[in-house]
Each structure stands twice: as C-alpha cells, then as structure tokens.
Amino acid sequence: MIEFQSVNKWYGSLHVLRGINLRIEKGEVVVVCGPSGSGKSTLIRCINRLEPIQSGEILIDGKRLSDPSLDLTALRAEIGFVFQQFNLYPHLSAMENIVLAPMKARKISRPEAEEIATRLLERVGIPDKAASYPANLSGGQQQRVAIARALAMQPKIMLFDEPTSALDPEMINEVLEVMSDLAGEGMTMAVVTHEMGFARRVAHRILFMDEGQIIEEGSPQTFFENPSSPRTKQFLSKILSH
C-alpha cells in the first residue's frame, strides 16, 4: 500500500531521511518512534507529499508520487492526516470543519455530508459537539473532531503525527481509544507517537528511527522484549522509566 524505495531528503545541508526503504501493507498498523529530530515526522509527511523528497521513490497503491501526471489532490483525499496541533479551522464549527472537504472536494450534497459527519462525531464519542467551535472544545475533543474530519473523506490510509503530544494527560486516552477502534476496523495506519502502551497493544509493527534512518523494525513483542540495537535499548529505557 505504501512503499519507500531508497528515499533521501535534505533540509538544506541537513540530511533528514537517509536511504529509507519501507513497505506498509493494507490493513497494517505501523507505529514510528524515536528521539526528537530523528526524522519520524518527516517520514510520514512525505507520504502525502506535504514534504518533497530529493531522491528515491514513494509509491502509494502502486502510484509513484514523483509522476508529473499524478493528481495530488485526489491522492491526498485518500490519505487522512492528523496533526499534533489539531489544526481545526477556527472560524468553523465542528460540523462545518468535517463537511467542508466532502462538499468541496467530493461534491457531496450538504445533507449527505452532514449525515456522514453526524455518524463520525458519534463514532469519535462527541455527538453533542457538532455546533461547537474549536476554541470551545478541549484538546482531546478537538483532536477527535480532527480525526472525524480526516475520516469524512473515507480515506484508505490514516497518518497520525504525534496526535497526543499536545494533549493534557487525562485526554490522551480518549484519542487513543478512537485510534484503537480505527485500527480494529482494519484501517491502514502509520502513527508517530511516544505512547508505548498504545504501540504495544495496537501496532502490528514498530519502527525505531534515529538520525534519519530506520534502526530497528519488528513486532511489538520483539521490539519491547528483545531489541537488537543498543540505541533502541537506550531509548526504551528512557521512555519506559517514566
């Protein structure tokens, strides 16, 4: 479903992705972790081309991202993206946030789009917040609206970039639960997160990145119980000691 072939990316002279090779299969849930600055966010931002790459190739469903005839807008519509800072549209209510893209990009009628949105708000557990504006929602509620907004386009892939890092601790679980449900429904997901409990429970595979490279890759069990790289061990000891 998603394939990286020797992908390299630089920010100026900074080499942030170094020869990444990776395959994510349909229905697979992959968690990407690593210290900050390791390139994990960049990795998933490359998947819907929010970041361009300088060499190598990324294929989505067999389509090459470098293909000049690629319909990028249509491709992005198939890939949901959830940001650390939620990025809801502050001038629109939760309902309007969700129906905007289906109505404008998919040309779905308003009643139909609202029906979808109502279902999604129910699914993320805040059916009563349709009329609320982002500023009047808690962080956890905002992030759940953001997930509903991404799901409204019926994407084939969902990408999460540290979805719980900006949340107060008591709100983290409500978001992780929604994500777990989504994984349980068979969604293809790539999640950058520090939530190791979530990784252990939900991920099919965990990647550990450092300095632009994938250092370690394996099932949760091997990753947590028997990591091979000393850097992974060091990272895990820091993060699990909390």
Partner: protein, 241 residues
C-alpha cells in the same frame, strides 16, 4: 478684533444642500473605491503568498507600484493620462458624464487596494503553515484552501487594521477635489467662497468627517464582533450575552 463666529451660514442659502451633496459624493466615491480596494487587496494579497512565483511577482509589482506613488499623482494619472488612451467619442462622453468621479474612484481604489493587499498578506502569513497543510491534506485544492479556509481566517484577523485603513480611505477621498470632484471638502470650501466664513465652513467639514469616521468605526466594531474567531476576540462578545 476677535473673530466673530456666525454659524448661521451653515444652514442659510444653499449651504445645507451643498453639504448634503458633498456627504453623498464622499460616501459614494469612498464606498465604490472601498469595494474595488477590497477586491484588489484580497486577490493580490493572497497571490503574494502562493507557491507559484510568477503570480507572486505580479502581485508584488502591483503593490509596490501603487502604494509607493502618492495618491495625488494617481488622481492626475487616472484623470489626465488615461482618457487620451481612449477613442475620441468615448472620451467626450466620459467628460460629459462624471469622468472626474470615476477617475477619482479608480485612483482611490487602486491605491488603497495596494495597502489592503499588504494587510491581507500579513494576515495570511500569520496563519500557521500547518493550517494550509491541514486543508490540503483533506483533499482541498490550493485555490479551495485559500477560498474556504485561509482567506476567511485572514480577513477576520485583519479587521482592526482594515477598519483603520478604511477610515484613511474616506479621509483621502478629499484628494479628489484636485480633479474637481465636488465632495465634502470641496463643498465646505464652496461655502467659504460664498460666505467668506472659513472657520465655520471648515468646522462643519471637520465635524461631518468626524461623524462619518465614528460611524464607520462603530460599524467595523460590530462586524469584528459578528465575525470574531470564536475563542479570540469573540470571548469578549459572548461574555456579554
């Protein structure tokens, strides 16, 4: 020796009629110029932030060219330099049908459009980049992202400076008297000519401009509250309900 005030000159003779005409002309030219400025400013301000370089360059040219030349020069430009480019009969028709007003309106609109443009650009640039990315990642095109997300947010952010600039536009409309537009300042001078009562006429003009500006400021505050981004200035507004 002290100046003897005679306020009756403001309502005797034709003064009242002239002042009213002046107010209507000032409001007319300012309103049309404002609409033109808002349209030009929004489009060019947005274009100055797009990724496509030639469009950015085009918008930059417009802004730098028009805001760095004095308004008076633009008045003369539209009144004296543009008509000779038109065919003769059209010129004559225009000169018989308020060419002064339209030249003044274009000068004001295009000049303030360039100034609006800068505000809209800074408004757009103050929106985090991730807001663009969020809209793009849901499958909206760049144009849709601007139209439905970025510009609506930017416009709300810049209401206060735009209000200020709108007041400037209203006051600057008086420059149109240099090309014989009979707006408010012109009419106050007219009263002075007829009555030789300079202070009374100027005071009347000042008070009317003040009233118009206060009216616009109040209207803008209402708009600001109505369209406030919830959670920002809106908190103040909703607390009053």
């Amino acid at each position: 020796m002290t100046y003897q005030f005679d306020w009756s000159v403001l309502w005797t003779g034709q003064s009242g009629e002239w002042l009213l005409q002046g107010i209507l002309t000032t409001l007319g030219i300012s309103t049309l110029a404002w609409l033109l400025a808002a349209a030009l400013g929004t489009v060019s301000g947005a274009l100055r932030t797009v990724p496509f370089a030639p469009l950015r360059a085009l918008a930059t040219c417009y802004v730098e060219f028009f805001r760095n030349v004095p308004l008076l020069v633009w008045m003369f430009f539209w009144y004296f330099a543009v008509p000779p480019l038109l065919p003769g009969p059209l010129q004559d028709w225009l000169f018989n049908h308020g060419a002064e007003f339209w030249a003044g309106m274009f000068a004001l609109g295009v000049y303030h459009g360039a100034r609006f443009s800068e505000m809209i650009r800074s408004g757009i640039q103050s929106i985090p980049k991730t807001q663009f990315e969020a809209a793009l990642s849901t499958g909206l095109t760049t144009a849709q992202t601007y139209r439905f997300v970025i510009i609506p947010i930017a416009l709300r952010l810049i209401i206060p400076p735009i209000a200020n600039e709108s007041l400037n536009l209203l006051k600057n409309s008086s420059v149109a008297l240099t090309i014989s537009v009979t707006e408010l300042t012109f009419q106050t001078r007219q009263i002075e000519t007829y009555t030789a009562r300079a202070f009374e006429a100027l005071t009347a003009g000042t008070v009317i401009y003040l009233a118009l500006c206060l009216g616009i400021a109040t209207l803008m505050t209402k708009i600001e509250r109505r369209f406030a981004l919830p959670g920002m200035i809106g908190r103040v507004a909703s607390a009053e309900h």
